[in-house]
Symmetry: C2
């Protein structure tokens, strides 16, 4: 069902491209524009039918109804001011950045009809060639309203995500960043560190446990550098807590403390089994 | 093809039961006996046709050709002496324990025809009800010969694994334990610690990255306590190295050291992409 006339997606990578495909699949917009610096990306996005038309200039944003910023976090902030001078007063704006406090506090002031989004979908892959309309199926999208969020932005963008088949949850940008520091950022740091700790010649012996634990270690450098730096404070706290737990199990192994090991493994097992 | 008359599997859980199914599927033995303390396990194993007959006493081992010890590591050591007094001089013996130095140094002296095995197959599940003949397909089995290993044990047990469709690699027990401390034991410690670090109420937001990284955290308590204590020295060293890497990325985030973050993430990504 059509709820927009013209949606523009700025940054047509895995996430932007998948959004284009999903929007077109559900018929949510009469037209989907894609904006990218790279001609090749725009060509591929058009071939995949993730966008109807591709542009390298932001000026085409002047008459769109909804702008979705789908670049790495630092680039969202770099582009926002320029975009705010081009779009109409009524235009809705959202972003799909993986950290919210920094982005939302900046965009909130620039755009009268803005709300931050974070669809918890995607993969370790990057680029339009991995775009897939189905990545949103059954997933969660966190919206991060603030006291400045307009009713229109909240209701219309919430509806937009719901029509893509996504369950919407509202969290403050601060709480979002805290949750994500444990659920996503810390696991990435551990995966990067684990694989960098493992001697290369041992990798031939990796079975499914190692592979699953390190899958996200092949994630994109630019995206993750931005996430680490834009959510520094929360991430440092999560690492602190993790280090305390790691020290505890290490010292239990050192002192052969079976009681602690039992408790620690059982607690982990019980918590993990709650997840589907 | 039949290469044994009577194989006995001591411990009919996920691994022992899967072995029984695979042996019977390939017709490697005229008969497969299962030994367990629990009547229920033996009943389920027979229902699944993972064993032909089940016993609660070790005395039935007196005329078997091959004994496979498939219990947690500490139990293997507990049972070995009794078994050595029952089996015939020609009987082949192997175990499928996840750490080798401690087990092999003990069993090597007790049995004239012993070699340690470690099939890198299985899952975080435990128990006969998860037994599956296909877990060995395309997997690796590490055999750990020593200067005491008989030629007969090495060749015949190597052939046994190969006939189950497994690729066999020979490593010393010491080197096996070092490799596994990085490839399997450290990832389990991180998964247990990660989930114990994550506040329970945040688990609702877990997406595929968190789930994959922590899948092995629902592994069995008894098995893993034994592994941690029987491979203490190697595991403590692996944790040390991991802690150093974690401290490095933490301090790079703290000081906003983009150059280090870039290098660290890129190195991880390149190494991870070598794995299939």
């Amino acid at each position: 069902m059509k709820i927009f006339n013209k949606i523009a997606i700025v940054g047509v990578g895995l996430m932007g491209g998948s959004l284009g495909l999903a929007i077109k699949d559900k018929g949510l917009s009469a037209e989907v524009l894609g904006i990218s610096r790279k001609r090749k990306t725009l060509r591929l996005a058009k071939e995949k039918k993730a966008i109807d038309r591709g542009f390298r200039e932001l000026s085409v944003l002047k008459d769109v109804d909804l702008v979705i910023l789908a670049t790495p976090v630092e680039t969202i902030i770099d582009l926002a001011k320029k975009i705010s001078k081009i779009i109409s007063k009524d235009c809705l704006v959202t972003d799909v950045g993986s950290t919210k406090e920094k982005v939302v506090s900046y965009l909130d002031k620039l755009f009268p009809n803005y709300i931050g989004s974070h669809p918890l979908a995607g993969s370790e892959k990057r680029g339009i060639r991995f775009a897939d309309k189905d990545i949103f199926k059954g997933s969660l999208c966190i919206l991060t309203p603030t006291k400045n969020t307009s009713f229109k932005a909240l209701t219309k963008i919430k509806r937009f995500w719901q029509m893509l088949g996504v369950k919407v949850v509202l969290l403050s940008p601060q709480f979002h960043d805290k949750v994500l520091s444990f659920i996503s950022h810390l696991p990435h740091i551990l995966a990067f560190s684990l694989i960098n700790t493992t001697p290369k010649r041992f990798l031939d012996f990796a079975a499914s446990g190692f592979k699953d634990t390190t899958r996200i270690a092949s994630s994109d450098r630019e995206i993750w550098q931005d996430i680490f730096l834009s959510n520094r404070r929360c991430i440092l706290k999560a690492i602190d807590l993790f280090q305390q737990n790691l020290s505890k199990i290490k010292s239990a192994i050192k002192t052969r403390d079976k009681e602690f090991l039992n408790k620690f493994i059982n607690q982990a097992k019980r918590k993990r089994e709650q997840l589907k």
